[in-house]
């Protein structure tokens, strides 16, 4: 199980990467962008600290997590950069860096985060990771995030009048979201000098975990009405648009696709998505990916690795 020392070392690694290279004005904004990080790894409020995933994979594999610290920091910085860019592209959040400080500043903050992430990877060599492996990790991190960019492109270039398919939704979720956790597990396993078979199992685990996480986020987006207001065609909406009876389907289509200028009746739509089974279907789908992630962990355990530290992610 992760401990407070890991969390503190992780935060210190981030501060070390930030303080030495930024002036005060930019530093404050970058710290604001990653401000949610501290709550993510608050051991008292949540049980699954996503940013520590590379450390937990490394520790489970070789008993050491210190070498993986810069890699974990890099992934978190890449993720934060993607979130800032995402807020710019979606333009639907009033408390984003872009909404509060403008597009120019937000773009610069996101760019800075990308550069800091690259620097963090370079910091692996100071932890004793061979240069050839550092280059390999740099390459794979960039490859993963290029896939995420492609996923984002698919998402934002979605034709407004088209009803998306579940296949498309899953493809976008895989490229945009699952790649982050897959990358996290991949880096953790690589730094621990795992053999290829084990690395592949950890990658699958990370990917399935990422898919489940995205669907959970989408379900929450309906419960909170956040995604209804934003008219995001997430899995519950995709299911409903495919499976509702004609009258209800037309009503939902009108609100989500045909007349986006109309203010949606969030309560009515939320109730419709519950009563139709759309939320239940999304819950089952999330459960499928979690089950697959659990199966991956069982396979990993058969190789002699103690996976108990990773089980909280699947509780």
């Amino acid at each position: 199980m992760f401990d407070e020392i890991q969390a503190l070392k992780f935060m210190e690694e981030i501060r070390t990467n930030l303080i030495s290279s930024l002036d005060d004005g930019l530093l404050l904004l970058v710290e604001e962008a990653i401000g949610g990080l501290k709550s993510d790894i608050d051991l008292k409020s949540k049980g699954s600290p996503w940013p520590l995933l590379p450390l937990l994979v490394s520790e489970a594999t070789c008993g050491d997590y210190d070498r993986a610290l810069p890699g974990a920091v890099a992934i978190q910085l890449f993720k934060t950069a993607a979130e800032v860019f995402d807020d710019i592209e979606d333009a639907d959040s009033s408390d984003s860096i872009a909404a509060k400080y403008g597009l120019a500043i937000a773009t610069n903050v996101a760019t800075t985060l990308l550069v800091l992430a690259e620097r963090a990877i370079a910091g692996l060599s100071a932890k004793g990771v061979k240069n050839s492996l550092v280059v390999r990790i740099l390459d794979l991190a960039n490859r993963y995030y290029l896939v995420a960019c492609s996923g984002q492109h698919l998402d934002i270039s979605d034709a407004p009048g088209i009803t998306p398919s579940e296949e498309t939704y899953l493809k976008i979720a895989s490229m945009k979201s699952a790649t982050t956790l897959e990358c996290a597990c991949h880096v953790g396993a690589l730094v621990a000098n795992s053999r290829e078979e084990l690395i592949n199992l950890f990658k699958k685990f990370g990917h399935n975990l990422g898919m489940a996480s995205q669907i959970a986020n989408d379900i929450n987006g309906i419960i909170s009405t956040r995604d209804i207001l934003r008219r995001k065609k997430t899995l519950p909406v995709v299911y409903a648009l495919t499976n509702l009876e004609i009258e209800e389907r037309d009503y939902l289509k009108t609100d989500f696709i045909v007349k986006p200028e109309r203010v949606p009746d969030c309560e009515r739509i939320r109730e419709l998505l519950f009563k139709s089974g759309a939320i239940y279907y999304a819950t089952l789908k999330m459960g499928v990916y979690k089950q697959q992630a659990l199966d991956n962990l069982c396979e990993i355990e058969k190789t002699g690795i103690n996976v108990q530290q990773l089980m909280p992610f699947l509780k």
């Binding site: 419960i223 819950t283 789908k285 459960g287 979690k290």
Partner: protein
Amino acid sequence: MESIELQKMVKAIFGDPQTRTEFVANPDIVMSRFSLTEAEKKAVMNTHLKSTMLNDGSGQLDTIGPLSLWI
């Protein structure tokens, strides 16, 4: 991968009161009518154990354990 059979099952459960009653009492019987994968069957059984959505129709998800960690 899109889960066509899972969609059909959910549509049957939420679209037909008799199928819903049957599913609540014995999910295995309803599941056997659809070609679900092993992972889908496990997900159905796990959710069935933890969810009260079908029973009281309240639409509340806070009885589903896994989500409370993730939301």
